[in-house]
Amino acid sequence: MDGGFPSDWRNDVLAALSQPVEEAPNTWPLTQQEYKRYGRQLIMPEIGLQGQLKLKNAKVLVIGVGGLGCPAIAYLAGAGVGTLGLVDGDVVEESNLHRQILHTVGGIGEAKVDSARRFVKELNPLVKIEEYKVRISGDNALQMIAPYDVVLDCTDTPASRYLISDSCVLLGKPLVSASALRTEGQLTIFNYPPRPAGDPAGGPCYRCIFPSPPPPEAVTSCGDGGILGPVVGVMGLLQALETIKAITAAGSADATAFSSFAEPAVNPPTMLTFSAYSSPQFRSIRLRPRKKGCASCSAEATVTAEALTSGSMDYIQFCGLTHPVNILTPKERVSALQYAEARKNISLSGKSHQVVDVREKVQFDLCHLYGSINVPFSIVSSLRNATTEVVQTPVLQQLKTSIGKGGGEPVFVVCRLGNDSQVAVRKFKELGFDGGGKIWIGDVRGGLKAWREDVDPSFPEY
């Protein structure tokens, strides 16, 4: 004892008083700013200091900066992923804004990648962004993906899904894949753990689960089929979550350790399906292991880096192309301008005509030409035994009666773009609605899109 203080205390006090005025250089693994910014996830055992360091060292490639990519990017940037590569060749359109949450009114017309970069810089300037303002293709895929640790497929075509999966197998990258349409979504981590082709312990790839692509005419885009914002949002968020889980589960904190993805206990592969209007909304499906003889990830794999890069693997051809429908003769078709002229002349002469709109009712209710009647294409196209079914289908019975009453007046069929209308004209003729050729039935080329562009700019675009 000296002066009433225990000697330990006195030493502490003296040490504190002798501290230099300037702060010592930060010797902690993260900066002060990082401790604060990531504090809420740092204190979780699932992340912790090691997890945060792995995120900081991780390089994640997000392919597609749309409905899936936007929420995924926001949360990955928020969580402190060190490097985010953003791939998209498109520009922001007004119809993107209801779901692509990084883009704003000010970004319309701007490259999606630029718009997203601005968002990320505002949210978390610590994240490094690499930009790729291109559409992914065979000649750039491997080069683009190679420097990254994890890949997110946020694209919107079957061709890009096969290409990205094949590339990830070739390069040994885990692929966090999601998709969404209308009210449904799917989520799977492919090639996880990412073992070389032929190693049955590796996770299945996209080809193992979907060996053959759907016929091109059966593929629906968000533009044609519609998409509910929160549905695609949920799927993008789940991609961010699974990416964070995969990164923080990996072997050690240094970036080179992603080869040890296989080391932590990886859950058996599953596909999570989301169906917003079903009960239950989520289903987790146990997937198969790698498929024997898979063209991509089996020992007999035929997809090689050379085939992919040289273009001899043609993904567009593999998935097929849709050609615009062209099944009517020129005499059975009129342009939007010709129809506008006919509409005027017919009404001036005191006669009438029939306009049949074959879009689905929900679209017909959005906007339609005055005087048109709605016969949804889904009804027309599902007719099997034609004649008996007309009697059983009120809307077709009405159309038949209405055409009959018209006394030979022409029947114009319209749809959104001018494809379904041609099929409908064929069907109506097969059903004998044209009175064996006495009544002209034809379609408006280019549909209501052409009507808006060539005749009436006030007709709504959707």
């Binding site: 079957p158 759907p214 059966a218 987790s284 499906i285």
Partner: protein, 92 residues
């Protein structure tokens, strides 16, 4: 989706994405037992054209497990099972 418990002697058939668009329904009850190998033909009878346009590219699950059609010989769908047609969704 009315994925109600199927009555005796039937199984629950679920349609997702393009399959539900084609069948114009999200679920129905079909007669059990049914060999997995006969499922697609059964569906083709109910929805002509569905095999080529939808099923050829789909994933099939029974009770939330993937079924490999190349390897399905002898597998039977039983009363009360939940069978699902899951087409690939590619948009996003």
């Amino acid at each position: 989706m009315a994925s109600t418990k199927p009555p005796a002697g039937q199984f629950n058939m679920l349609y997702f994405a393009a399959a539900s668009t084609y069948a114009k329904k999200q679920s129905e009850h079909l007669k059990a037992p049914l060999p997995v190998s006969e499922l697609f033909d059964t569906l083709e009878q109910l929805y002509p054209g569905i095999k080529e346009k939808v099923l050829s590219s789909c994933m099939l699950t029974v009770n939330l497990g993937y079924v490999d059609l190349d390897d399905a010989a002898g597998i039977k769908i039983k009363e009360g099972d939940e069978v699902a047609i899951i087409p690939p969704v590619s948009s996003g």
